[in-house]
Point group: C2
Chain length 129, copies 2
């Protein structure tokens, strides 16, 4: 948040006077009624795609490898088709990548998030409080 600069000639304001209202929220894609793809999981998927490695993606997010792998298995199991391929590699470990369906799902999420950000901005501008 922006710091408010007080000047000598400004009236002293009660805390309530400096409150600024906004509309906030979160949005996600659900599968079978349960959260399936939100911002955090999309970040994980994108890092998997960028690095080709679940281990490196997990490290970037400060998440354990075990937890990242569990999330990816959960995402794949609850999708109409896998979003991530996990190849058991030999020397140097396996490679991981987004499938075409995974790319499509991530793009859909961002499309919804973009619309949601517009929703929040519009309703923040419209607040009369």
């Amino acid at each position: 948040m922006d710091q408010i600069e007080f000047k000598a000639d400004m009236p002293i304001m009660a805390e309530a006077d400096i409150c600024s209202y906004t509309v906030g929220g979160r949005v996600w894609i659900a599968s079978g009624g349960r959260a399936f793809l939100g911002r955090g999981r999309v970040q994980l998927l994108e890092l998997v795609e960028q690095t080709g490695s679940v281990r490196q993606a997990a490290r970037s997010l400060g998440m354990s490898y075990r937890n990242a792998l569990r999330l990816i298995h959960n995402i794949n199991a609850r999708a109409a088709a896998p979003l991530v391929t996990l190849n058991q590699g030999g020397r140097g470990g396996g490679g991981a990548a987004l499938t075409a369906y995974g790319h499509h799902a991530v793009a859909q999420y961002y499309c919804i998030e973009e619309q949601f950000n517009l929703f929040l901005a519009e309703h923040t501008a419209g607040l009369v409080l």
Copy 2:
């Protein structure tokens, strides 16, 4: 969630075949960048208005009186004007009620929530996954 009834002549479906995607989310009014009025707090305020009592409102929500009172003080402190009046009563305890500003804030929240529900329905209908 609805139970899916399997019949003898239905093909056996993999888990992936029965996933149904929706767009879900949460929305709230924030003050100074922090959540200020979401569904849970609005329920509390409405129950305070209906019962005239923080204690009864808390009980209806399975929340401790202490916690409900703390929430209400927090809401009042972070608003441009108090949303709830707390009168220290004599015999029988004090009465609590929404102020005109409190009624207005609750109405604003519901207006936003209604628009958000339309947003979710529209984007669920538009999902191509």
